[in-house]
């Protein structure tokens, strides 16, 4: 083959660099958590509740225990330590003890020599369930019996809300929430349950260490918080549980909560053998949390010149059976409810409830996706009511540095909302394509048997934003360790950081930062594990680039200073080793009564994106085709531009999926479409080209001015795609995913 321009292998910050794991990933050598193997290994399997809500009277394992190849059958009675765990509140049983609160809740675990033996043995476990009426309507959850005793999330500085089944309520009162204006538009918007649908299923391998401790190799987003949840449930000290990052096949928030970690470790410690667990696709759909479905009531009041005067929003989130990160999602949905616009008055009320529906938690965009879908529909509606161009209306109201959010937080860092709007709006839109044409290029693809008579084209626009890093007083710091070693003709460096490489490319961020700071090519990255370095925090909240770069920069600079003290060189075998912890600037909680910030402010920094979408809709058949997407995104500084574009393209696809096809469907709390046959994600035929522009206005507080990249495209694309469909159809389309019936007006 002819040679093409090569990506740099040893790049510095700001250069497009080939991923260090690209070659092992294309050859199949890269070891994902489902590829692991150990001599003498057993296979674990989980028995799950077939009910969304049921009391558990008795569990009889006697038959299963004696089956061929079976080495262990464990229930709640075998949990050595704490019986419950959770990311923020320990409300979730390791194995259900008195009742099951959602469909698919783990009830028992089995280890056997072959995965099929384990599965069959689990079928012979007899669980005596007494089914209860499930709480499945979030709008009525606060009128039902509580599904948890003792209000697991009460206190914690949250607003008092005594109604049953409340996870968290937030009320933000800003300015005069009753302020009137010349025009008003309102609407009610709904979003279905979206799934992360990462391709690599939950999996891992637990290996007992013969001294009572255990090593767990697993695909996760935050090694140290896994350890801090696993160890108490095993009745072990944190040092006795070592969590090691195995290859991660995508995450998108779905690996923040534990999956196999405690179960595999329990089976391994019980059998004294390595135990591997791998979920199949169906189990993966029930085995992790989802994006919160939402219902949102919004009213926008504005003057004739387009200036927003008052935004009133009521948001209801269905948190499902366990809290997971729902409290933080509630905060985000509230804080970003008004969009990236300056508005002097607002009233935002947001409640997240417990139900017996599938548990919800983190997914890319984290509360901002839901709000963005609603506020952008409202901005389009307002534009049309006022006869102002929708892009112009957004520009007139765009938040800018120095402005405040409805929480009272002033934007002190970079925030080029107007710039991303202008840049996205300026991207040239492709010409309409002629008919007739290859059916592959019709809405619905080859499933469309017409000649395109019913095809209408629409152009949509949306803007969205969210925060970078954790918020409300959480110090999600990141540690990094740098070791310099003298070698024959110079220096070599090794970096340790427990940041989870989930596909986003943080391994390159770490190496590019270290090479830049040390001005050295010979830098290698150690494996990510709790046993060699402090916590990195989570690969979430678009924070990992900023935090990992910050930590590596600190450690590298400290190593360099030490090197200078030693005269600038190290003899062969001589070493310098330093570990440093990087903190983002402190944040403080929202006032529980007013939702206003106190002290430093609830958020660290903000990121925004604008997107323009061209879509075609067959208004007779209800079929859609997104033709083109153009977007401009505020990224602070692109450490590895190739990877940044990749995040934008991939994040856009997930938002498009929610707009058009992705929804976990339930009947009485039972998931009815737990497969890729029935839960559809965008394919090569669904994704249009994405023209992306990076807006690089450095963030003053951050290393190299970086911000975050992963979430804004997902926040904005659902709203932007539906905006285009509305333009094509003239219909309101208030619910996603948009269904063919709604497009043709059958509702």
């Amino acid at each position: 083959m002819t040679t093409t321009a090569r990506r740099l292998e040893l790049g510095r910050v700001g250069e497009s660099v080939k991923r260090i794991d690209a070659i092992p990933k294309v050859t199949g050598e890269f070891a994902y958590s489902s590829d692991l193997f150990a001599a003498g290994m057993l296979w674990g399997h989980t028995l799950r509740s077939p009910h969304a809500h049921a009391l558990i009277a008795e569990i009889d394992i006697s038959e299963a225990v004696g089956m061929t190849g079976v080495h262990a059958v464990l229930t709640h009675a075998d949990v050595p330590g704490a019986k419950t765990y959770g990311l923020e509140f320990p409300d979730q049983p390791v194995l259900a003890f008195d009742r099951a609160r959602y469909f698919g809740e783990p009830v028992a675990i089995v280890a056997a020599e072959h995965p099929e033996q384990a599965r069959r043995a689990s079928e012979q476990i007899k669980v005596a369930y007494q089914p209860l009426e499930p709480v499945v309507e979030p709008e009525h959850a606060t009128e039902r019996e509580p599904i948890h005793e003792g209000r697991p999330t009460a206190g914690h500085g949250f607003r008092d809300d005594d109604r049953p089944n409340v996870v968290r309520t937030i009320v933000i009162r800003h300015g005069d929430p009753d302020a009137q204006a010349e025009v008003s538009v309102s609407g009610v918007y709904e979003l279905g349950i979206q799934d992360q649908a990462f391709l690599g299923p939950e999996s891992g391998l637990a290996i007992p260490d013969a001294e009572g401790g255990v090593d767990v190799y697993v695909a996760t987003q935050w090694l140290h918080i896994d350890r801090d949840q696993v160890a108490p449930c095993l009745g072990l000290e944190p040092e006795q549980v070592r969590i090691h990052l195995a290859g991660v096949g995508g995450a998108f928030g779905g690996r923040e909560d534990l999956s196999i970690q405690i179960h595999a470790a329990m089976l391994a410690l019980h059998t004294d053998r390595p135990v591997k667990m791998v979920y199949n696709r169906e189990e993966s759909f029930v085995g992790h949390i989802h994006r919160h479905p939402a219902k949102i009531w919004m009213e926008h009041r504005a003057n004739r010149d387009g200036k927003l005067v008052n935004v009133r929003a009521k948001i209801l989130l269905d948190g499902g059976a366990y809290a997971s990160s729902s409290a933080a999602v509630t905060a985000n949905a509230s804080a970003f409810a008004c969009g990236p616009y300056a508005v002097e008055n607002a009233l935002v009320e947001c409640t997240c409830v417990y139900t017996n529906n599938p548990p919800c938690g983190a997914m890319r965009g984290f509360g901002a996706v839901q709000s963005c879908f609603a506020h952008e529909a409202q901005m389009d509606k307002l534009a049309s009511e006022l006869g102002i161009d929708p892009v112009e209306l957004r520009l007139r109201n765009a938040l800018a540095p120095g402005d405040s959010l409805p929480t009272g937080q002033r934007i002190t860092g970079s925030f080029p909302a107007a710039e991303v709007i202008r840049r996205a709006a300026a991207l040239p839109v492709p010409e309409p394509e002629e008919l007739p044409r290859d059916p592959l290029r019709l809405p619905g693809g080859s499933g469309n048997t017409t000649r395109g008579e019913g095809v209408k084209r629409g152009v949509g626009f949306a803007v969205g934003f969210k925060n970078v890093c954790y918020s409300e007083g959480f110090d999600d710091s990141t540690a990094a360790r740098v070791r310099l070693t003298g070698s024959g003709d110079g220096l070599a460096a090794e970096v340790h950081c427990a940041a989870a490489e989930v596909g986003q490319g943080v391994v390159n961020v770490i190496l590019q930062t270290a090479r830049t700071e040390l001005d050295l090519d010979d830098v290698v990255l150690g494996s990510a594990t709790t046993s060699s370095v402090g916590s990195a925090g989570s690969a979430s909240a678009s924070r990992m680039t900023w935090m990992a770069a910050g930590a590596v920069q600190l450690a590298a600079r400290a190593a360099r200073d030490e090197l200078a003290r030693r005269g600038g060189r190290l003899g062969p075998g001589e070493e310098i080793e330093v570990e440093r912890v990087y903190h983002h600037r402190p944040t403080t909680p929202l006032d529980p009564e007013t939702g206003q910030v106190s002290g430093d402010g609830a958020h660290v920094a903000y990121i925004c994106a604008a997107m323009r979408v061209v879509a075609e809709v067959d208004v007779e058949l209800g079929l859609t085709r997104v033709v083109w997407i153009g977007t401009a995104q505020d990224v602070g500084k692109a450490v590895n531009p190739q990877a940044v574009y990749g995040q934008i393209e991939g994040g856009t696809a997930q938002g498009l999926g929610l707009a058009l096809m992705e929804e976990i469907q339930t009947r009485d709390g039972l998931i009815t479409n737990a497969s890729f046959t029935d839960y559809l994600i965008p394919t090569t035929l669904d994704m249009p080209p994405v023209d992306a522009e990076l807006v690089e206005e450095p963030e003053p507080d951050a290393p190299y001015g970086v911000k975050g990249v992963g979430e804004p495209p997902t926040v904005v694309s659902t709203a932007a795609v539906v905006s285009a469909l509305r333009d094509a159809t003239g219909r309101e389309l208030t619910r996603v995913p948009v269904r063919p019936d709604e497009i043709v007006g059958l509702d």
């Binding site: 690209a22 294309v26 050859t27 099929e116 992360q196 391709l199 690599g200 199949n280 990749g646 393209e649």
Partner: protein, 151 residues
């Protein structure tokens, strides 16, 4: 039962259970975990392999059906231990993020280019429509196929 097959040019034997898929046997019995299991229902293409030169989902083939046949997996795609041009192109263009879909995509793309060395845009999309990727949004995967086709 015992089966015999040629995998990536090598004769291999395995003792398998009647119900085991070819994918399970490759991954768990023959030490070739490169082909991935993301659905086991023929919906994602992560397990794509070439069976007697034909692109198939290894999760839908029973191991017993592969008895006596010839197989190429992602591990054997490149010649003489080198990279296949499609593999190079995926690494080069940034078509790999988490990479879980990558083995399936490179096998499917190599198959496409073997049949049609200069596919059109629509032909690329159609040929790869049985492979799911959750990370990339496919743009860089198309870049990779175009790059490999041009080489």
């Amino acid at each position: 039962m015992r089966i015999e097959l040629t995998v990536n040019g090598e004769r291999r034997e395995a003792d398998v259970w009647a119900g085991e898929s070819l994918l399970y046997v490759l991954r768990e019995r023959l030490g070739l975990p490169g082909s991935k299991n993301a659905c086991e229902q023929g919906e994602c293409g992560s397990c794509s392999v070439l069976l007697d030169g034909r692109l198939v989902c290894a999760c839908l083939v029973l191991a017993a059906q592969a008895d006596g046949h010839e197989l190429v997996t992602v591990e054997g795609l490149g010649e003489d231990g080198g990279l296949h041009p499609v593999q190079e192109a995926f690494a080069e263009t940034g078509a790999v993020q988490c990479g879980f879909c990558t083995p399936g995509f490179v096998v499917a793309a190599a198959d496409l280019l073997a049949r049609n060395p200069h596919p059109s845009e629509d032909q690329i999309r159609e040929a790869l429509s049985g492979n799911l990727c959750r990370c990339t949004g496919y743009a860089k995967i198309f870049d990779a196929v175009r790059l490999a086709a041009g080489s």
